[in-house]
């Protein structure tokens, strides 16, 4: 076990835990908000992380035995904790400035076509840009440009928007069987691609849409159908025949129409369980699903706009307390005290 202090909060974690995982543990246990953002790290996939550098943190004290600070910000997704480590994330002004720089570099080739992009509203890069005050661009040169490509008949690839996080490559490697998809070329020329635009044809290939933090890989069945904040997320399940898929999904509905099906996502924007292509692309009727109830959307998200959901549990509690109050009044003031003119 190792004791680590992140933003003045101490936690004891098992050896081999990364700083990012430890920060997320603190958030989950104490309801704080100190976990650094991550664009390429994905806890559900192996060997992810280390590409985007948005999760950098400042290590003020290396460990108990060697208290020297680390000379440069370190990527928290790839750095394991040491006993007595002291880490600064949101409480260090230098670090936030460094992260803003990283975000600006991520946005250099990003086309900023959010008004057109289907991911807008649930895009991690959009959130990251706004969080770090980088909603405008200073870049004046020609950006890299690619034509949108169809990868199979269900997935659209907009290479312009890609930030090369490698999540989709790892998904294809680990979740699907035959991998036909990877990153070709190097440096500024790098792009994700399939071998000679070969269609991704696999039961779980649709998951690359969910893991993509930007709008590079989008659902063709949902293409330009609606903005995400005009749809209503609903949790649902069905009895899926596929042995690896348990059929638990999130439906994005408009009225009675199911516009899109995605996997359920947790507070870190990662899928809870990967779903198969049949659930994702072919079951677009309410009759195919058993509805579990409305999904929880953070009130900070634009998706919660104009959705007037009430917390049923809270409502029940407040109703109960109202009834108690009335009962109490009746008992203390006697019959007739509940006359509306007297309240």
């Amino acid at each position: 076990m190792a004791k680590v202090t992140i933003d003045d909060i101490t936690i004891e974690v098992p050896d081999g835990t990364t700083i990012l995982q430890a920060a997320r543990m603190i958030d989950e246990q104490q309801g704080t908000n100190i976990a650094p953002p991550a664009m390429c790290y994905y806890s559900k996939l192996k060997t992810t992380g280390g590409y985007c550098r948005t999760c950098i943190v400042k290590v003020e004290q290396g460990s108990e035995k060697d208290p020297r600070p680390m000379p440069k910000p370190v990527p928290s997704c790839r750095t394991t904790v040491m006993d007595g480590m002291v880490v600064r994330n949101n409480t260090s002004a230098d670090l936030l400035e460094a992260r803003a720089g990283v975000v600006e570099f991520l946005l250099i080739n990003h086309p900023l076509d959010c008004p057109i992009c289907d991911q807008a509203g649930e895009c991690h890069l959009q959130d990251l840009g706004y969080e770090n005050g980088k909603e405008a661009t200073r870049y004046e040169f020609q950006r890299r440009e690619f034509e949108p490509i169809d990868i199979g008949d269900k997935i659209k690839l907009h290479m312009n928007r890609c930030i090369l996080c490698y999540r989709c490559v790892k998904t294809c490697e680990q979740i699907t069987d035959g991998r036909v998809h990877g990153v070709i070329n190097r440096g500024d020329h790098a792009e994700i691609s399939t071998y000679i635009e070969k269609a991704i044809d696999n039961d779980f290939s649709g998951n690359v849409i969910d893991v993509c933090p930007v709008g590079a890989l989008t659902d063709k069945t949902f293409r330009f159908k609606s903005r995400v904040w005009f749809t209503k997320p609903v949790d649902a399940h069905r009895d899926c025949k596929h042995e690896k898929c348990n059929g638990k999904v999130r439906l994005w509905m408009k009225g009675d129409d199911v516009l899109r099906v995605t996997a359920r996502k947790d507070r870190w924007g990662e899928v809870e369980e990967f779903i198969c292509n049949e659930c994702r692309f072919d079951k677009k009727y309410v009759a195919d699903w058993v509805i579990d109830g409305p999904s929880k959307v953070s009130h900070n998200s634009v998706i919660s706009q104009n959705h007037y959901a009430t917390d049923l549990k809270k409502m029940r509690l407040s109703l109960q307390s109202e009834v108690e109050l009335l009962k109490h009044k009746k008992a203390t003031l006697g019959q007739g005290s509940l006359d509306p003119n007297n309240i």
Partner: protein, 202 residues
């Protein structure tokens, strides 16, 4: 039970003889009526006579086209989300090949409706628009005999390609200057972009 302390008790007392004749009361009333014959009227005879309104008056909306006549709106939905009265609805579709002269961006609005009965003319849609597509003009929304007539679709909102609506006087100098800058992607029409690609390939 007293709701306010300003209530007055009504007293019904007997009228005097002069009051019973009503003549002084009637003459008083007639004097007031006659006075108004010689006063200037408070109203004007719209639509023959129109009142002066400010140049920045917020009236009926317009969906602008760019200088090549392509619709600027890309159905991003920011106006609808910004609208406090929830008056705007839209549906979008993908632009097909050969329609580049009709729609400026890859995506366009197939249906764009503003419910003028709900609209409060606050101008937040204009402020939210990232594509300079929607503007409020100094035109007054005419009344309609039924509710359906007050839901304005694209036929009423998109400006006539032959008679564009001039809104330059509503813009600040800085904005007008910025719009001339063709190096900014924001100001490039589809044709400008094609020319740039051609130049690059040469």
């Amino acid at each position: 039970m007293n709701l306010t302390d300003r209530k007055k008790v009504v007293v019904k007392k007997e009228m005097t003889l002069v009051e019973k004749l009503y003549i002084p009361a009637i003459t008083n009333g007639m004097v007031i009526t006659l006075k108004h014959f010689f006063k200037k009227g408070a109203t004007v005879r719209y639509p023959e006579v129109k009142r002066d309104i400010a140049g920045t008056y917020r009236g009926q909306h317009v969906l602008k086209r760019d200088e090549n006549g392509a619709e600027r709106c890309t159905a991003c939905g920011l106006c609808a989300v910004a609208c406090p009265a929830e008056a705007i609805t839209m549906e979008s579709a993908e632009r097909k090949k050969g329609e580049e002269n009709l729609y400026r961006e890859e995506k366009y609005a197939t249906i764009y409706e503003i419910n003028m009965l709900r609209c409060i003319f606050c101008g937040l849609c204009e402020e939210a628009c990232p594509k300079e597509a929607i503007f409020l003009t100094d035109r007054i929304v005419p009344v309609s005999g039924n509710r359906k007539g007050m839901v304005y679709g694209k036929d009423k909102l998109v400006e006539d390609i032959n008679h564009p609506i001039d809104l330059s006087y509503r813009q600040t100098k800085a904005v007008a200057e910025f719009k001339k800058d063709k190096t900014k992607a924001h100001n490039q029409t589809w044709k400008d972009k094609q020319n740039l690609i051609k130049e690059k390939n040469h």
